[in-house]
């Protein structure tokens, strides 16, 4: 599972809708505390297999995530785009 940290709830919603339209399941949730260096934020949860396609779609729509994290059995690690 990847977490795409978005700069605002509105961006997260727009990103989620874009991905859903392209067949990628994307769930808007609150970002885990350790991922949001400025405090509260929202992120998109997407399945591992869709990461590359999701990033391309979001980048081309001007909705590139602020940061990207991998969530694996409760462990969160930041990954580069």
């Amino acid at each position: 599972m990847y977490l795409l940290l978005c700069r605002s709830l509105t961006y997260a919603q727009r990103s989620g809708k874009l991905l859903e339209r392209k067949g990628i399941t994307a769930t808007v949730t609150k970002a885990p505390r350790e991922t949001a260096k400025n405090g509260c934020s929202y992120c998109l949860r997407i399945p591992d297999r869709h990461r590359e396609k999701a990033l391309v779609l979001l980048e081309s729509a001007g909705l590139a995530p602020e940061r990207i994290f991998r969530l694996d059995e409760g462990r969160i690690t930041e990954v580069r785009p």
Binding site: R7, L9, T10, K30, G39, C40
Partner: protein, 371 residues
């Protein structure tokens, strides 16, 4: 009651508005706080409303559509974003106190681009003469007292050419006249949700092109560790809990307007105004402020009755079931420009829900009163 005070607030609204408010109160909590279904339903509704407003006003980014509590709130944000103490600001002679009071409070040097009522070419000339070197300009699209449609597209073009940021007060035009925010190139456009947008009271919209200054500081559900307000929209301008039921209602009304068509609404209100005017035009006791060119006036008409105080006239009309507003309409500048400051006017303003029968009935009662 025959309600003819839609310029103050729309009393009759599409039924879908009430239903949407009720549904919101039953199913939506607060957006931007949690991520459980009722919070996300609220968040999705806000985004849908922003996107519907984008379609209505020609805005590209939904983040540039800000929810306010009314037009006054939006105008205060816009003015405080564009104007510093001592700045020279050019305004039309038909501005509401929601424009003149914030400018006065800031200590701006206000210059009025004065022009006779309903004279659009003169209004444009007046702006052209004063704009050079101004720090900002504010122009109402439609006068709330007289329904005068100012040449906002041409004023906006002048401002663009001079590099002067323009703030548009769209309080009386949003939902009646087409507004292409992108095309205008204005810095901001403020409007209430509860007048011709037909949404609930407690809602308003501010369209942003320029980076704004926050007016309210508080919780946004984002960047909580940062003591500063977020530097991105809409969060920068939307501190505190949203009026979710209100915005849900506004979404319903905007969808109704998009479906019905602004031009059809304008045609209907023009027809009502013309019916009303035709019935009263020959009364020698009535001084009626009517544009010679119909395109220079919306479905809003002010008049004075010889020998009768305006508030007394409004009271007598109310006793007979006609709801109107009298006085200065929070716009003394407009009255000063039109020469009606000493007595004010009685204002009749129509909505998509008034009928021709109502226009005739109101005219008949007024004629009887003014015999």
């Amino acid at each position: 009651m025959i309600y003819l005070d839609s310029a103050a607030t729309a009393f009759q609204k599409p039924p879908s508005v009430r239903q949407a408010v009720w549904r919101a109160m039953e199913t939506m909590s607060s957006p931007g706080r949690g991520a459980y279904p009722s919070a996300m339903y609220a968040a999705d509704t806000l985004l849908e409303c922003r996107m519907a407003l984008c379609r209505l006003f020609g805005v590209i980014e939904p983040e540039a559509v800000i929810f306010t509590s009314n037009a006054t709130h939006g105008l205060n944000i816009a003015i405080r974003s564009c104007v510093r103490p001592g700045d020279r600001v050019v305004i039309s002679g038909y501005e509401h106190n929601a424009v003149t009071r914030p400018l006065h409070a800031i200590g701006a040097k206000v210059e009025v681009a004065a022009a006779p009522l309903f004279d659009r070419p003169a209004q444009l000339r007046a702006f052209r003469e004063k704009l050079k070197g101004a720090n900002a300009a504010v122009c109402t699209h439609v006068s709330n007292v007289f329904g005068f449609v100012l040449p906002i597209e041409d004023v906006a073009a002048l401002c663009r050419a001079e590099g002067v940021p323009l703030i548009v007060d769209a309080s009386q035009s949003a939902g009646i006249l087409p507004i292409d925010f992108q095309g205008l190139g204005a810095a901001f456009a403020a409007m209430p949700g509860h007048k011709s947008l037909l949404g609930p009271q407690g809602t308003g919209v501010l369209l942003c092109r320029e980076p704004p200054e926050a007016l309210l500081y508080g919780g946004t559900g984002s960047n909580s560790l940062d003591p500063n307000m977020p530097d991105f929209l809409p969060d920068r301008l939307e501190a505190g809990t949203h009026n979710v039921p209100g915005i849900a209602g506004l979404l319903a009304s905007v969808r109704w307007l998009l479906q019905r068509g602004i031009r059809n609404i304008r045609s209907h209100e023009e027809m009502l105004m013309q019916s009303f005017y035709a019935d009263i035009a020959e009364n020698p006791r009535l001084k009626i402020f009517r544009a010679g060119d119909p395109s220079a006036q919306t479905g809003l008409l002010s008049l004075q009755i010889a020998g009768m105080d305006g508030e007394d006239a409004a009271h007598r009309l109310a006793e007979q079931g006609i709801a109107v507003r009298a006085g200065l309409h929070c716009a003394p500048l407009a009255h000063r420009s039109a020469g009606t400051l000493d007595r004010g006017t009685v204002r009749f303003s129509f909505s998509p829900f008034n009928t021709q029968k109502e226009a005739h009935r109101a005219a008949a009662i007024l004629m009887d009163m003014a015999r």
